[in-house]
């Protein structure tokens, strides 16, 4: 692949970085990343990956744009109320960068389609807003041994972690199973500061770019917790758990499962 004159201009601030260069930019252009959710997290992740020239972006979301999304979901806009979020994200990202092919996938992930949907991608980004999806995505990535950049937000706090299956922790190493729905914040409590997903999604996009470029360290065996009110970043070490029900020595989970929906969705 040769960079065109237009690409040399567009990506010049990448090319002059020693850690990227023309070679790294070509890696970005050939990379395929799947983003689960075109909500608070998926919007900034997709926006920055598109700007960076990540060549193929799959976006899974079966929701439509609602007015209450627009306080934080920056790929959508007021004219697009009622439009599929995956389609709206495609329009925004392709308008930003025609080098990027965005594949909108208007479906809900389930144990029956997740492996097939993930198979062709290099890296999976979880920007989902609920526990059933979070566990399904983790399990599928473990089974496929695919890198997963996971993010979560609530109120003023966000978490980011990078899962490299069998080479580091997975989500179940930390929390074996989802909390019961009653222990999860109710819809009235599930507010989120609109800018918070911008910070957390920005960190997720950074992790993705480093994975593609093979540069720096990622949040392997680590959970990063950001608190917007205190302006604190805390790194918590999460070693791989030999008793993990999916990536441990004697796994009890050997096939995918769908948990009940019925949690409040807040992404």
């Amino acid at each position: 692949m040769e960079l065109s004159e237009e690409q040399i201009h567009r990506y010049s601030r990448h090319i002059i970085l020693r850690e990227v260069g023309g070679k790294g930019q070509k890696k970005l252009l050939s990379a395929k990343v799947l983003i689960v959710g075109a909500g608070g997290l998926g919007c900034p992740v997709g926006y920055y990956l598109a700007a960076a020239g990540v060549g193929t972006l799959g976006i899974v979301d079966d929701d439509v744009v609602e007015l209450s999304n627009l306080q934080r979901q920056i790929a959508h806009n007021t004219q697009r109320l009622g439009m599929s979020k995956a389609e709206s994200a495609k329009q925004t990202f392709e308008a930003l960068n025609p080098d990027v092919q965005v594949l909108p996938i208007k479906t809900r992930l389930s144990k029956d389609n997740v492996l097939e949907l993930f198979r062709d991608y290099d890296i999976i980004v979880d920007g989902s807003d609920n526990f059933p999806t979070r566990y399904l995505v983790n399990d599928a990535c473990v089974f496929l041994r695919k890198p997963l950049v996971s993010g979560a937000i609530l109120r003023f706090e966000g978490q980011v972690s990078t899962i490299l299956p069998y080479d580091g922790h997975c989500y179940r190493c930390l929390f074996e199973s989802p909390p019961p729905p009653g222990l999860v914040p109710s819809c009235q409590e599930a507010g989120v500061l609109g800018v918070l997903p911008g910070v957390v999604g920005g960190l997720q996009a950074t992790e993705v770019l480093k994975l593609i470029l093979g540069q720096g360290q990622v949040l392997r065996n680590t959970l990063l917790i950001y608190n917007a009110l205190n302006v604190s970043f805390r790194k918590v070490r999460v070693p791989r758990n030999p008793q993990c029900p999916i990536c441990g020595e004697a796994p009890s989970i050997t096939e995918l499962m769908d948990y009940e929906q019925g949690y409040c969705q807040m992404g």
């Binding site: 960079l3 040399i8 090319i15 020693r18 260069g21």
Partner: protein, 82 residues
Amino acid sequence: MSEALKVDKEIDIRGLVCPYTFVKAKLAVEELQVGQTLRVLLDWPEAAHNIPRSMAEHGQKLSVKQLDEKQWEIIIKKEVED
């Protein structure tokens, strides 16, 4: 570096300004094998200082020659893969 040195590749970036001068030079160096030599012809004064400095930081060996009032030649020998 000797002036009689064999040059493996040449780029003429006269007419380009920063940072595209460095972008073009860097892309050309990436395409060289270690040990090969690139000749860069340019007319942007700032770049005549900045390209050698940045290339040296990246570990490459080079020499600069002012050809006339407004033209410079930089010879870069690729020492390390970057």
